[in-house]
């Protein structure tokens, strides 16, 4: 059988600054008609660049291909087929290929659609590029049909909507419709569901599988998520630092990976981490019968934001970000707060620390009410309650070196009697998060994302807190880095009795890490209890829906 796509020894060099980055270094793989090939790797592995090289979307002045060929089985309009090397400069049919024979969808549905044109106009443009003689009415009909195929409800009226009027999932469906409009043979999907909620992701993946079966399209699916791989792939290729380290059928890869790197990646998955944790004695018990008095008590907390409309900007309504939440955290306990985007979990985390002002309800720490205190009165509590953020880029002040960032809070609270003592303490904390003491004198831009997250943890630890809010701290990290961070957090709890409110949307991480899980949606908690119970035998229908949507390796391995 002729392969649809045959990548042979592809090399892509990217010019950056004065040097050259070998983004793709001698990569070879092939995709058969109708099959789904997943290209997996961490950030910087070169998987996106590979995809962009195939469809030739890399900027001409930066990218070059010193070697390799990409053979594509091109289908002429007449029906006859011809093998073409896509890297060949002089191709007549290049314009036909892009969009017509190879389609591509991207990661960010928010920004991937032009905000000033309607959905219909952009769909029709896709059609018109490849079928210029298409009359207007027919083009519109085909566009509506395409929307129906991707299961957008009421396509005849949605076609005139602007992208900002659609949800993230709907926008991604529109992207798929645009890419599939001209019935390409190959669909390249670059992390299409990474930015979507897990329930939406499930729908999109199902849609893609359906379309593939109906049309016989091959899919090159790029992702970093092995769960998605287990759901979608026929074959898998693992990339690292621009090289393809291993490839094979998905079942073989997941069951018995050959290459050590693949094994490392699979071992770092939260669901696999758990297996290693069984048997570890945890000195601080989870929610058990002899629960000590809770460290943190949240009672009926509300955070409402006013909506102003009208001539005089009167308050007409409220956005109920947090709508009556009650939650307890015992000493030494990790309570996870799970929910999809927009459910209010981040707002809740910040409201606990009074970074957002609660509009109702109360928060008690160690028996004392924290809401309603003045800034001065709140100061001693600031030592005990800390927060770690999600985005490694904006969580550190780019103007200050690490030493200042760590030492300033110490000075404010009077920890340490001299500068030397404080520096020594800062060094010790850095070692606890597995960073070199010499890092103190560097600036944030010199560190990687994972390292910056560790510095963020160090900053939270510097005041010796008893309670930390972790706001999606691993969501922006690669899976191997994530594993390290999670283990650091666990160690902190095991060795120092640190309590945590762990906010996340990733069920796998939550299952691994937490003792108690609370499920949140639309500002309310719908289910809460020991993790094994909530995640194993969920009671509430929303929890069930959420858990069912998570793609898991073990489901695949079991079948």
């Amino acid at each position: 059988m002729t392969m649809l796509l045959d990548v042979k020894n592809l090399r892509t060099w990217l010019r950056s600054g004065d040097g050259v980055v070998k983004a793709v270094d001698d990569v070879s793989f092939s995709i058969a008609p109708g099959e789904t090939y997943c290209l997996v790797g961490e950030s910087g592995s070169g998987k996106s660049v590979t995809a962009l090289s195939i469809i030739q979307l890399l900027p001409q002045d930066i990218a070059s291909h010193p070697g390799g060929e990409i053979w594509f089985d091109y289908r002429h309009d007449s029906g006859e087929r011809e093998r073409i090397n896509l890297l060949d400069r002089e191709i007549q049919v290049r314009r036909r290929i892009r969009g017509g024979r190879i389609g591509m969808i991207f990661q960010e549905p928010m920004t991937s659609l032009n905000p000033v044109f309607t959905v219909g106009e952009q769909l029709i443009e896709a059609l018109r590029v490849h079928y210029p003689q298409l009359p207007g009415a027919e083009a519109r009909e085909r566009a509506i049909d395409a929307l129906a195929q991707v299961q957008i409800p009421d396509p005849a009226s949605r076609i005139d909507d602007y992208p900002h009027q659609l949800s993230g999932g709907q926008r991604q469906r529109v992207m798929i419709a645009m890419a599939m409009a001209c019935e390409p043979d190959l669909l390249i999907a670059d992390e299409p569901t990474t930015a979507l909620d897990v329930t939406v992701q499930r729908e999109i993946l199902r849609l893609m599988r359906e379309l593939q079966q109906r049309r016989g399209t091959s899919i090159l699916f790029i992702t970093h998520d092995f769960g998605v791989v287990s759901e979608m792939a026929d074959r898998v290729g693992v990339m690292r630092h621009g090289k393809l380290v291993e490839e094979g059928a998905v079942d073989d890869m997941l069951r018995a990976p050959a290459h050590p790197y693949t094994r490392e990646l699979l071992a770092a998955l939260p669901e696999n981490l758990r297996r290693e944790r069984r048997g570890v004695v945890v000195p601080f018990a989870a929610a058990g019968a002899s629960a000590p008095s809770p460290l943190l008590e949240i009672q009926d907390l509300k955070v409402h934001f006013p909506v102003r409309k009208g001539l005089f900007r009167r308050v007409v309504d409220h956005v109920r970000a947090v709508d009556g939440v009650s939650l307890d955290v015992n000493p030494g306990q990790i309570v996870a707060l799970v929910g999809e985007s927009g459910c209010g979990k981040t707002t809740l985390g910040r409201a606990v620390l009074r970074l957002e002002e609660p509009t109702g309800g109360s928060v008690r720490f160690d028996g004392q009410t924290v809401t309603g205190l003045s800034r001065q009165e709140l100061k001693p509590f600031r030592r005990a309650m800390q927060i770690i953020f999600q985005d490694p880029v904006s969580s550190l002040n780019p103007r200050l070196n690490i030493a200042t960032t760590l030492i300033e809070p110490m000075k404010v609270h009077g920890i340490g009697d001299s500068m030397d003592e404080r520096i020594a303490r800062a060094e010790e904390i850095l070692q606890r998060v597995q960073l070199e003491p010499a890092s103190l004198w560097r600036y944030p831009h010199e560190f990687s994302g994972g390292q910056r997250q560790r510095i963020g943890i160090a900053r939270a630890l510097v005041l010796d807190p008893r309670f930390v809010v972790c706001d999606e701290v691993t969501s922006a990290l690669d899976v191997s880095v994530q594993a390290e961070i999670l283990q650091i957090l666990l160690k902190l709890r095991d060795e120092h009795g640190l309590s945590m409110l762990f906010i996340s949307h990733d069920i796998g991480v939550v299952e691994y890490l937490s003792d108690v899980t609370a499920v949140m949606t639309e500002g309310r908690i719908v289910e809460m209890g020991p993790t094994s119970q909530v995640c194993g035998r969920p009671a509430h229908p929303y929890t069930r829906k959420l858990l069912a949507a998570v793609p898991r390796l073990r489901d695949r391995l079991a079948s």
Partner: protein, 392 residues
């Protein structure tokens, strides 16, 4: 995981400064500004009818020094202060305070000791020389003061460069007979002075009001925005005209007034930066650590927000210089003191085109404005990629 050990740690400001100074545009701009600053500081020694040194009946005296004013001394003190402090390793604000102290001290000392004569007769030196009263005379490179109307020479009026063979006027004379080059040198003081002081006032006002608006929001924001809108809706030039026409024309008033009309731009920047930075994670982290408000404002928010303001300031100095020139051009500028704009207005007097009055003062304004614009552009180019990289 290896960390990037080969990159030497550099603070943000150091990196930006390095990048700016590397751009050729900024270098040209800085070069001209420094030249101008040196000329402005040493103006009394460069262009004056008072000779540097003369010997009369065996006695040596220095008329230049005798006629130095307090302002001259303060400028000299500032110049030497900057040179001395350049290499000293203390934080910037401390250096600034020392400099300020030095200048004030020099000013007080000069005020107490110096007594320049009120009435000056410029012609006395030339007359004395013609009468042979001096043994020898060492003149300044350009032996004319800006207000020396050369009444003893005779024909006073607009004359092109090197028109007269007896007295060398490299840039010609202006309508009152004074030497153009001399007036231009002294006018540089006014241009630079107004540029810096007016922009300084505007920046301080803008930062304070913008900061208040950004921090307190609510009522302060509403009132502040109305103020900003009001001052922005009146064309700056028109407000300037009104102020100057009604309040009379003194150098200090002009500085203050130009500053007063320029502050809304800075206020807007400060407010916008503030609102954006307030939401940044590291600011929230600082608040969560209990760091006091002043520290949050000055250590975390301000350094990260100051970059666009500095860029705006560079362009602001250029527009302050133009504002002064325009006022002088329209006849509302300083009455007797030399000014580039006022000289420019003489270029089309009496329906003849006096090209030297257009080229030289106009050229000076052009080069100065160009220099500040170049510096501003380079700063903006340097800051932009860093802004994107650091997510701030």
């Amino acid at each position: 995981m290896t960390d990037v050990a080969h990159m030497r740690s550099r603070s943000f400001s150091a990196r930006i400064a390095r990048e700016v100074l590397g751009a050729w545009g900024a270098r040209i701009g800085l070069g001209w500004i420094l030249l101008l600053a040196a000329v402005a500081v040493f103006a009394p020694f460069l262009a004056s009818s008072h000779p540097l040194l003369l010997s009369e009946a065996g006695q040596i005296r220095s008329p230049v020094l005798a006629h130095l004013t307090t302002g001259d001394v303060m400028m000299l003190a500032a110049f030497f202060g900057v040179v001395l402090l350049w290499r000293v390793r203390t934080p910037l604000y401390r250096k600034g305070l020392i400099l300020l102290g030095l200048v004030l001290l020099a000013g007080l000392a000069a005020g107490a000791w110096l007594k320049p004569p009120q009435i000056v007769i410029y012609e006395q030196y030339r007359e004395a020389q013609r009468a042979g009263a001096y043994d020898w005379v060492l003149n300044t490179p350009i032996p004319y003061s800006p207000k020396d109307y050369l009444r003893d020479v005779g024909q006073s009026g607009l004359q092109g460069p090197l028109a007269s063979d007896r007295h060398r006027h490299f840039m010609g004379t202006e309508e009152n007979g004074a030497d153009v080059l001399s007036r231009m040198i002294h006018a540089s003081r006014i241009a630079l002075g107004i540029g810096f002081v007016a922009t300084g006032i505007a920046m301080v006002l803008g930062v304070i009001i913008g900061g208040l608006m950004g921090y307190f929001s609510g009522i302060a924001d509403i009132i502040g925005m109305r103020l900003v809108e009001i001052f922005e809706a009146i064309p700056q030039l028109f407000l300037l005209l009104t102020f100057v026409a009604f309040f009379g024309r003194s150098l200090y008033i002009m500085m203050v007034i130009i500053g007063l009309t320029a502050w809304p731009g800075y206020a807007r920047y400060v407010r916008a930066e503030y609102l954006k930075l307030r939401r940044q994670d590291y600011v929230q982290a600082a608040v969560a650590s209990g760091i006091p408000l002043t520290s949050v404002l000055f250590r975390h928010i301000l350094p990260n927000g100051v970059a666009p303001i500095l860029v705006a300031a560079s362009f602001g100095v250029a527009s302050a210089i133009i504002a002064e020139a325009v006022l002088s051009f329209l006849g509302l500028g300083l009455v007797d003191d030399p000014s580039w704009g006022q000289m420019l207005s003489q270029a089309v007097k009496s329906s003849t085109f006096n090209w030297w009055m257009a080229l030289f003062p106009g050229g000076a304004i052009f080069l100065t404005v160009l220099s500040y614009n170049l510096i501003g552009e380079s700063m903006r180019d340097a800051i932009d990629p860093y802004l994107r990289k650091s997510g701030g």
